[in-house]
């Protein structure tokens, strides 16, 4: 057993590059899906029925598709419609689009639950447009939605493991290639799990900071 972990240790370069790719995929997907979600959330709350309906339909449809199937469709399905991606673009696009739906729904819920009066006070004190959103609405959203967004980040990190099926060299892919080359499944996979756990701890650390800030203001 110790010998098996020794083999994994010898391949640490491969694991580390997998870990770096997983982190990179997750960070890009998280940032982009949060931004797209922030743009989609107001659309879901739009007074124009068609806009709200279309946004709502996208979000509901996305949330009901298993991520693995969605990744298959983007990478293997779309080329038959003439849309071709390399595995990096396909993987990133799948992660981003899929999580945009979740982020939009999280932000919409938090926004709808925000008390109306402080926002109105912002308007009365001369805030409008982007400044009103950035100075008055967004801080409240970050504080109230922070923990749920953090939870979704962990989901993104774990979902990125599915991208091994389209041969993206991320952490799961690295672990499984080590195990198939040396037949050390337990050591390889346990090491990968520990590394995923480490990534999630970083996210949770961030969430805890936000939670403390929010508690002081509640």
């Amino acid at each position: 057993m110790i010998h098996d972990f020794g083999i994994v240790w010898n391949e640490r370069g491969l694991l580390m590059s997998g870990l770096a790719n997983t982190a990179l995929l997750s960070v890009i997907a998280a940032v982009v899906s949060l931004l797209l979600g922030a743009a989609l959330a107001p659309a879901m709350m739009s007074r124009r029925r068609a806009v709200a309906g279309a946004a709502r339909a996208f979000v509901d449809a996305m949330r009901c598709v298993p991520f693995l199937l969605f990744a298959y469709i983007v990478y293997y399905g779309l080329p038959s419609l003439g849309i071709n991606f390399d595995n990096w673009s396909a993987g990133l696009a799948a992660l981003m689009l899929y999580n945009t739906a979740y982020m939009a729904e999280i932000l919409r819920g938090a926004w709808a639950a925000m008390p109306r009066e402080p926002i109105e006070a912002g308007t009365a004190f001369g805030f409008s447009g982007v400044r009103l959103f950035r100075r008055i609405i967004l801080p409240g959203l970050v504080l109230s939605a922070g923990p749920v967004v953090g939870n979704q980040l962990i989901q993104i990190i774990k979902d990125s493991a599915f991208l091994t099926i389209i041969a993206l060299p991320e952490l799961t892919h690295a672990a499984s290639s080590i195990q198939s080359r040396y037949y050390v499944p337990f050591a390889a996979f346990i090491t990968a799990v520990a590394l995923y756990w480490g990534l999630c701890l970083v996210v949770e650390g961030g969430v805890n900071v936000l939670r403390r800030l929010a508690d002081a203001r509640r």
Binding site: E117, P118, E120, T123, F125, G126, F127, I136, P139, G140
Partner: protein, 262 residues
């Protein structure tokens, strides 16, 4: 009512409906510099809506609002102002809300500084100094670094008043500032408002505090079902109301008035 030569606020023929419900019908009045005008009337008479039409938190269906002679909301050419222009005007009209509406993510001091710094873009040192002076004025210097959630209702509303004053407004609007407070906390807020009245702050106050209106107001407006039924000095209104509606209204508040005169 005599027209004032240079009113701070001039409201001309403002009407507002919500769907089929006519909330305000053709309301006109003026507020001169240093006046404390109390808007009285039963619940649902349109008092709060009238206040919210002054700074265009509600868009009036008809009529005009002028601040120091300048139109609010609609330009003199009759065009609805863009958000930026309207926002500039709103910085000169302070507002105090029934449920305080403090910004929960900011400390007390930051609540005072936020709009002068971000919207008015005045020098930071000057804003800071004024904000501290205002907190001293409302008796909350020691709460400067507290978050609003940690304050009592009375303290929150005093911060709300200080926040509005930090804008150096030409006009201060109060929307039932003591209605959400426990009875024992009403006094500390009224004391601050009374001081402002004596210092000559120009104010329009929607309130159910009859004793306060009687003592501190320079003029009283009485609204009923969206119409301005009566206006006059507090002495006229409370001692010799001209209309039956005002008499009925005052009778219901008589017990309260007696308590306050003690």
């Amino acid at each position: 009512m005599n027209a004032l030569p240079h009113p701070v606020l001039n409201v001309v023929g403002v009407s507002k409906s919500f769907g089929a419900l006519k909330v305000l019908s053709d309301i006109s009045f003026q507020v001169g510099k240093g006046e404390t005008v109390c808007v009285l009337g039963p619940s649902g008479s349109g008092k709060s809506t009238l206040l919210r039409c002054i700074n265009w938190l509600e868009k009036p269906d008809a009529g005009h609002v002028y601040l120091n002679g300048e139109p609010v909301g609609v330009t003199s050419a009759g065009v609805v102002m863009n958000d930026h222009r309207l926002s500039q005007i709103r910085t000169r009209i302070g507002m105090v809300f029934q449920h305080f509406a403090l910004w929960p993510h900011l400390t007390v001091l930051q609540n005072l500084i936020e709009a002068p710094l971000q919207v008015q873009r005045r020098p930071k040192a000057e804003i800071h100094e004024e904000a501290l002076a205002l907190l001293a004025k409302v008796g909350l210097e020691d709460k400067r670094d507290a978050f609003p959630a940690r304050l009592s209702g009375g303290q929150k509303q005093r911060v709300g008043i200080a926040r509005a004053l930090a804008m150096r407004p030409d006009l201060l609007l109060f929307d039932e500032p003591t209605s959400a407070l426990d009875p024992e906390l009403v006094g500390e807020v009224l004391v601050v408002m009374r001081d402002l009245a004596h210092e000559g702050m120009t104010m329009v106050i929607v309130t159910h505090e009859m004793a306060f209106a009687r003592e501190a107001a320079t003029r009283v407006l009485f609204l009923d079902r969206g119409r301005m039924v009566e206006t006059g000095t507090p002495d006229q209104f409370f001692s010799r109301p001209a209309t039956e509606r005002a008499r009925q209204f005052l009778q219901r508040y008589a017990a309260e008035a007696v308590t306050a005169q003690r």
